[in-house]
Amino acid sequence: MKRTRLAVVAGLVGAALTLAGCGGSDALAPDTSSAPPADAGTIVVGSANFPENVVLAEIYAQALQGKGLNVQTRLNIGSRETYIPSLEDGSISVIPEYTGVLLQYFDKNATAVDPEGVYTALKAALPEGLSVLDMSSAEDKDAVVVTKETAEKDHLTTIADLAPYASQMVLGGPPEWKTRETGVPGLKKVYGLNFKSFKPLDVAGPLTVQALKSGIVQAANLFTTQSAIAENDFVVLQDPKNLFAAQNVVPLIRTDKVDDTVTSTLNAVSAALDTEQLADLVKQAEVDKTDPATIAKNWLASKNLG
């Protein structure tokens, strides 16, 4: 089929670009370890190319630096398809990741949905040479969100609480939610929710936010750490039955970089972080346009981790 061929071509081009990128940057950056064992003391913290991940990487980097380790950062690398190979070839040592999507990356057939199950499956699925440290309770995943007024009026804290009200509520979300298992059908099957209707909007974009804000929909699909949530005082409903697979923040690290200091430092960061704080950090980066390094510094100081 044509699409397959296209995908293969795209993959090859992507791989070529990745290789070229790595080779080039290694040659041009004398400070960076061209081969991992060369200066084994240096930890290179990488990040994907979106603000939340950059802030997390800054937090990792500054926390490790605070322990007297030699740390470098390589931020905004790109997508998972780009930075996992960089991790494998030693261009970076550690990167903030998310359990659910990372598991899917290494095991397309993974079925685990709860945080512990995903974490266990992830550890088993990781290739040789890569490890994960403790996961944080902070998650960036699909969520059903309501306004503060709705949450207070109907005493809503979890998706299950919607049961008596769903029939009078309009749900908004991306078009694929209409048929996707982790969408309208899943909400019906797992939580028994029959919404009055479903409005196909955009993928947690401005239309969805505006529709929820102005009351055109009463519940909407957003992502848990999206800045629009903090900005508009939206309430993220808990997902006790794990309809949406867990996406806990977790450091993905080269096994040869793991030692007691690194482990205890990053585990302390993961333990101190939760979804609400992460959402606030994202808001600082996206809405207040604060420099990620400053955000990380302030947060670490507030947790006595700096």
Partner: protein, 255 residues
């Protein structure tokens, strides 16, 4: 891909219910008709006035052509974001969709109308004034009928664009045939997406045929040169039958 699309189109399940082809087509037709009516209500009087008086051609033509350059989807989302805080219901999606489509539909109708009027043969216009017609009578009895071919060409152009673009209503949660395209893309159901696109194209062509039919009936045969061939009127005597019908300045040939 084509056979998957045909399978989608021939699956009876896709032809029933609130998400079926008949309902979606009807929604699409309603959006298009309402838009077209509003666009004509704005553009035809404005075009007649500009064409008849010759005033404001530069400004209005400039604005109308400028409007054509606006990206409809961007306009739509912008309107929704502006209007939604003011109206907390579905109208916050309906009104912006209609406005965005009207903006698309006005320029062709407007240019067709004023260009049609302006291009009326000056001899015909002078003759009309000469026999004592008032300005109003000249407009309604001479200029308007003579401008019809160009006006229809503007209308057909607007109709095609509106029907093709009314798919964007689905982007802001409304119905219409665009639903298949937007939903198909979101779920990577490409046969459904393609089927939606084909249905839109078919609808646009049917609408164009329909208006062409209306045009054939309403435009004076003197303009189009379509004469009924009778024994008393041999083929060679009249102009070529079945002329393009869009040349507004053809004068009456003696019969």
């Amino acid at each position: 891909m084509i056979d998957l699309m045909l399978a989608w189109l021939t699956d009876p399940a896709n032809w029933t219910g609130s998400d079926g082809v008949p309902v979606r087509t009807l929604e699409h037709v309603v959006y298009s008709l309402v838009t077209l009516a509003v666009a004509c209500a704005i553009a035809v009087p404005a075009g007649l006035w500009i064409g008849h008086t010759g005033r404001g051609t530069f400004i209005v033509a400039g604005i109308a052509n400028g409007l054509r350059a606006l990206p409809t989807l961007g306009l739509l989302v912008l309107f929704v974001l502006i209007i939604a805080p003011l109206i907390g219901n579905d109208l916050a999606f309906v009104i912006p969709s209609l406005v965005a489509l009207v903006v698309l539909g006005v320029p062709p109708v407007l240019s067709g109308t004023y260009a049609g009027i302006q291009n009326v043969d000056p001899a015909a216009r002078d003759a009309a004034y000469g026999v004592g017609m008032s300005g109003r009578q000249v407009l309604w009895r001479v200029e308007l009928p003579c401008a019809l071919p160009l006006m229809f060409s503007g209308l057909r152009s607007a109709t095609l664009q509106i029907i093709a673009t009314a798919t964007i209503a689905a982007y802001v949660s409304l119905g219409g045939l665009g639903r298949y395209i937007i939903d198909g893309q979101a779920t990577h159901d490409f046969p459904q997406m393609l089927a939606g696109a084909v249905l839109v194209a078919v609808l646009a062509l049917l609408a164009d045929l329909l208006i062409a039919g209306v045009q054939r009936i309403t435009v004076s045969r003197g303009l189009t040169g379509r004469y009924r061939r009778t024994a008393a009127d041999p083929p060679s005597a009249g102009p070529v039958a079945g002329g393009a019908g869009s040349e507004g300045d053809r004068v009456l040939d003696p019969v």
